[in-house]
């Protein structure tokens, strides 16, 4: 039973990180209909920035905040400079572009910081919560940060006019323009937010898996699975999906297939959800216009 509880706790911790990644993906998908393959590498790169700051003597929380801001700005920048000219390009051009970004960020990290793994500090102590070795403060911390972020985003999208404008732009760009909303900037803002959320995910996961340029590859796949399970057009669903995938992954990994096939399990989940329930568990079916 203890082992089971441990697995659930670990699953929820991983799930929180997948939820962050999924949330970033949803953010971009909802505003632009694109699936950002570079989401993971952007998060990884931001985490390296945080590491470099901490390594240079900046305190953890300052580095944390600064990294989020930098990630936000670079997300904005990437959308304005690289993706805006491709707004009307075919899907293939966009996919190639995302793959290019993925490669560039991965290579850049390797070039600047090398491919050897690094230790990333955690703001939370490794200590137990209940003194019985089941749940650590670290795990509680990760989940809390994710939920906090979700709350902030919900408040932003529900109760601010800027959030409302972003939702409107995502839903009906032409109509939003006729309400004076600068749609193109709303998309950029979506990218900025996605990039910032990704950075948080990266900084949360780095203490657990160690920091290296390929850190996010597997996590991105789980993020995809989470986003799809919850419904890729639905932020709340994506977070729930992330947690579900995290727990499932841990249980299936420890009781059924072992840890070696975890990525294949993600593949099965991705293909399975796309086939059986493309809108996800919590999503509504989107009718395709012809």
């Amino acid at each position: 039973m203890d082992f089971f509880i441990q697995q659930i706790a670990a699953g929820l911790t991983n799930g929180a990180i997948y939820a962050c990644v999924a949330l970033g993906l949803v953010m971009i998908y909802v505003s632009t209909d694109h699936i950002n393959f570079a989401q993971g590498e952007m998060a990884m790169f931001a985490t390296y920035l945080a590491w470099a700051m901490i390594d240079a003597g900046v305190s953890y929380w300052v580095a944390f905040g600064a990294t989020i801001l930098i990630a936000f700005a670079s997300g904005l920048f990437i959308q304005r400079v690289i993706l805006k000219p491709l707004e009307t390009a075919p899907v293939l051009a966009l996919v190639v572009c995302f793959i290019a970004l993925l490669s560039i960020f991965n290579a850049l990290a390797g070039m600047i910081w090398s491919f050897t793994i690094k230790q990333f500090p955690s703001p939370f102590p490794q200590r137990d919560v209940f003194g019985n070795g089941l749940v650590s403060v670290q795990q509680i911390g990760v989940v809390t940060v994710t939920l906090l972020m979700l709350c902030l985003l919900t408040v932003f999208f529900r109760f601010t006019t800027l959030g409302l404008a972003m939702r409107a732009a995502a839903q009906n760009a032409t109509s939003a323009r006729l309400m004076g909303v600068r749609v193109s900037w709303m998309l950029a803002l979506g990218w900025g937010l996605a990039s910032a959320i990704g950075a948080i995910a990266g900084m949360l996961v780095a203490p657990i898996v160690f920091l290296d340029p390929n850190m996010m590859t597997g996590i991105l796949v789980y993020g995809f699975a989470g986003a799809l399970v919850g419904g890729i057009a639905n932020p709340l669903g994506a977070v729930a999906g992330g947690f579900i995938v995290g727990v499932l992954e841990n249980l299936v990994g420890s009781y059924i297939i072992g840890n070696e096939l975890k990525l294949s399990f993600a593949l099965i989940m991705v293909v399975g959800v796309l086939l059986l329930k493309p809108a996800g568990i919590f999503g509504r079916v989107i009718v395709k216009r012809v």
Binding site: L102, I104, A107, L267
Partner: protein, 346 residues
């Protein structure tokens, strides 16, 4: 772009150029009889790799360029082809040449099966599913339960075949010809496929799937079969690579391999057959010069660590998408039209 693809695939005039080109490729190893450069065999090996990548890119191009289905998972089919050949040679004692059609069949099956779920997916979603496939396969190949067959993390070591019937060629010269013959057969096959009725159906699905459906084309069947053929071709390339390198290991078949196919495709030109050869050659050139490019960049920008090939791939993809979206072959076609018949063509 569609019109251009059509002209590449069907224009009779291109036949002579292509013929000349293949003859030139066939003549290259003969240089071995006049040179005694110690690195000649290495050049032959590079030639093999170029041809193998050309075949793999052709497989991908058939799917992406001509049929409009995006795959980031062709490294997986390349891996299946390579492992099929390796396992058959290692455990079954099957002669190397016989592994090629078997690998093609196995990969066709795998591609056909993956093509079924792919039917329901379009654009970004298909890219996503195949991306996941590319990530999952190396881990799957390392799986302990099948390590008896795959050699696990360490992979399988094979014997390099010698030329048969006492032909006076070095092993690498001979393997070059093997790759060349296979490439010619595959290119000829695809050329004919695209020129015929099925080819028009394949391209019609790309240009307007629904309209193609209403014209009586069984789009589902065509898409799955195209996925199968595409995977089969890439699988043959994989088998050839296992034979020529005489070694297979899981970490050769990562997402990066898929990306290099994509680079070859975009560099050569989407929906261009000659572009596949250009793309294949390009991949090998980049791989071989990445070390010197890296050294040069380290000196120039005083970097501490190596510049990985990824950096070059990524930058290149981005630049091409912006400045040469039809690839080198497309750029050449435009140039030819401008130089040749003036503005009439454009």
């Amino acid at each position: 772009m569609a019109a251009m693809a059509q002209s590449w695939a069907t224009k009779a005039g291109i036949g002579k150029v292509a013929m000349f080109f293949w003859v030139l490729l066939a003549a290259l190893p003969l240089a071995g009889f006049v040179t005694d450069s110690p690195s000649f065999d290495y050049y032959m090996f590079m030639g093999q790799s170029m041809l193998i990548y050309a075949i793999a890119v052709l497989g991908l191009n058939l799917l992406i360029g001509f049929n409009g289905q995006i795959s980031l998972g062709h490294s997986a089919f390349f891996a299946v082809g390579a492992y099929t050949a390796a396992i058959l040679m290692n455990f079954g004692g099957v002669p190397y040449w016989l592994t090629l059609p078997i690998a093609a069949g196995v990969c066709f099956g795998a591609g056909f099966l993956f093509g079924f779920p792919a039917l329901k997916l379009e654009g970004h979603y298909l890219a996503l599913a195949t991306f996941t496939l590319a990530i999952a396969v190396p881990q799957l190949l390392k799986y302990k339960a099948i390590a008896g067959w795959t050699g696990g993390v360490g992979g399988l070591l094979l014997d390099k075949p010698d030329p048969p019937f006492g032909i006076p060629l070095s092993a690498d010269q001979y393997l070059y010809y093997l790759c060349l013959v296979v490439a010619m057969v595959v290119f000829w096959g695809v050329f004919n496929l695209l020129r015929g009725r099925s080819g028009r159906a394949i391209m019609a699905i790309r240009d307007h799937g629904m309209a193609a459906g209403t014209m009586g084309i069984d789009t589902g069947l065509y898409k799955t079969v195209t996925f199968g053929i595409s995977a089969g071709i890439t699988g043959v390339a994989g088998a050839l690579s296992a034979i020529t390198i005489a070694y297979v290991a899981p970490d050769s078949f990562t997402l990066q391999l898929s990306i290099s196919f994509l680079v070859g495709l975009v560099v050569g030109g989407i929906a261009s057959l000659p572009g596949c050869v250009i793309g294949g050659a390009f991949i090998v050139v980049v791989q071989n010069s990445s070390q010197s490019i890296s050294d040069w960049m380290k000196d120039t920008f005083s970097l501490r660590y190596d510049v990985p090939a990824w950096a070059i791939y990524g930058t290149l993809l981005l630049l091409l998408m912006f400045f040469l979206p039809n690839g080198i072959a497309g750029g050449l076609a435009v140039l030819r039209a401008r130089l040749g018949r003036g503005s009439r063509q454009s």
